[in-house]
Each structure stands twice: as structure tokens, then as C-alpha cells.
């Protein structure tokens, strides 16, 4: 099972890309843990997580093909 990860704002600088694919992540907590392990700088950044465009408070189960976005604080307008 695979999920697509979308990165925005300052996170694109930490990762050096705007999206990546992760395999075998059961839920959004697993995504956070996996990415924070690979990119320790992520731990210093405040960000929200959205699964298929819905902001997650807490943890959410993922299924194959879902899109998880990591979003730093917004600054539109």
C-alpha cells in the first residue's frame, strides 16, 4: 500500500521536493514518525496534517492511494 505525501512552504526546503511516495504507513502518525526519522529537521517545524484534503486532529487510518499533506502555518492574503 502506498500513500502520496505533499509538502508545502518551508517543508519543501527541508525535503528538497514537493511530493514523495511512502509505502506501508498504516496511519498519519506512522507518516509523521517515518518522515521525522528521515528528516529530523521536521521535528522543529510546526505543521498540520491533511488526509485527502481534510485536516486531521489526532491520528487517522490510511488506505492505499490516499494523499497526505504536511502544511506549515498558512500565510495567504
Amino acid at each position: 500500500m502506498k500513500v502520496e505525501i505533499l509538502l508545502f512552504g518551508r517543508l519543501t526546503e527541508i525535503f528538497g521536493v514537493t511530493h514523495l511516495l511512502l509505502a506501508d504507513v498504516a496511519d498519519t502518525d506512522a507518516v509523521r514518525n517515518r518522515l521525522e526519522e528521515q528528516f529530523p529537521a521536521l521535528k522543529q517545524v510546526k505543521y498540520q496534517v491533511a488526509a485527502d484534503q481534510l485536516i486531521i486532529h489526532g491520528n487517522k487510518q490510511l488506505t492505499d492511494g490516499m494523499t497526505v499533506a504536511l502544511m506549515p502555518p498558512f500565510s495567504g492574503g
Partner: protein, 147 residues
Amino acid sequence: MKEKKLKNIFINGAVSAQFIAESIQKHQHNTTIGAHSIFLGQVRADQIGEEKVAGINYTAYEEMALNKMYEIREAIFEKYPVICLHVHHSLGLVPAGEVCLFVFCSSVHRKAAMEACDELVERIKAELPIWGKEILTNAAHQWKENK
């Protein structure tokens, strides 16, 4: 259930004064309108240490932003007796002094347009997944954060 029709709010680069003038003109045929309330967000040349902000480069999670904007529009139409609402936000680089956000609300009487416009701007800033990267005069940058 009515069909969900997403409106594209994004404009490449700054919102021009001409675009704003044309939008106002387009509403002249609708004579039930008695009030327009317009908000224009302009890029400030903030002083950052020795440097200044030369411009802001905007990026967005476009798909989510358009869905969120649809939801906000519906809520505003429900709450206020407005005739129409238009929102335009820049993507890409907007130089200091130029307009990056144009919100246009029209109603029969002024109160509804003014209140709807105010609430729209607040919600756009708080809820739309848009990011501004402030480009400084020495080409360094920092990420903006809405207060």
C-alpha cells in the same frame, strides 16, 4: 443536491488595477446592487534587519484551497444577504506595492457587503492553504506566517 462548481480564485502574479476596475465595471449592469465592499491586500516592503521585503512568492495546495473556498463562500452566502462574492488571490511572485488579494462583495445595502467582506478576508487568511515566501532585497528569503 446542487452541483458543486469550483471557482478558480488564483491569478498568476499581481492583481492589476485594471483587472479590479474591470470587475467593478462588470457589476454596473446589476442594478439591484446598492453597495460594494472591496478589500485589497497589498505586499508591504517590511524592513527585515538591513534588508527589505522586495516581494512575496505565493504557492498553494490549490485543490484543497479551491474546495475550502467553495465551503467558505457557501457559508457566507448562507449567513449574509449578499448578491455576489468574488475572490482573487495571487500565485507566484508579487512585488512590494502590488496587490495579492482582491475580495469583492456586493449587496443591496452596505452592512451585508461590509460584514461579509470582513469575514471572508479573515477566513481566507486563516483557512486557505496558501504560503507566502518573503523575498528580501539581498535575495535571501523567509516564510511569512499569518497572525
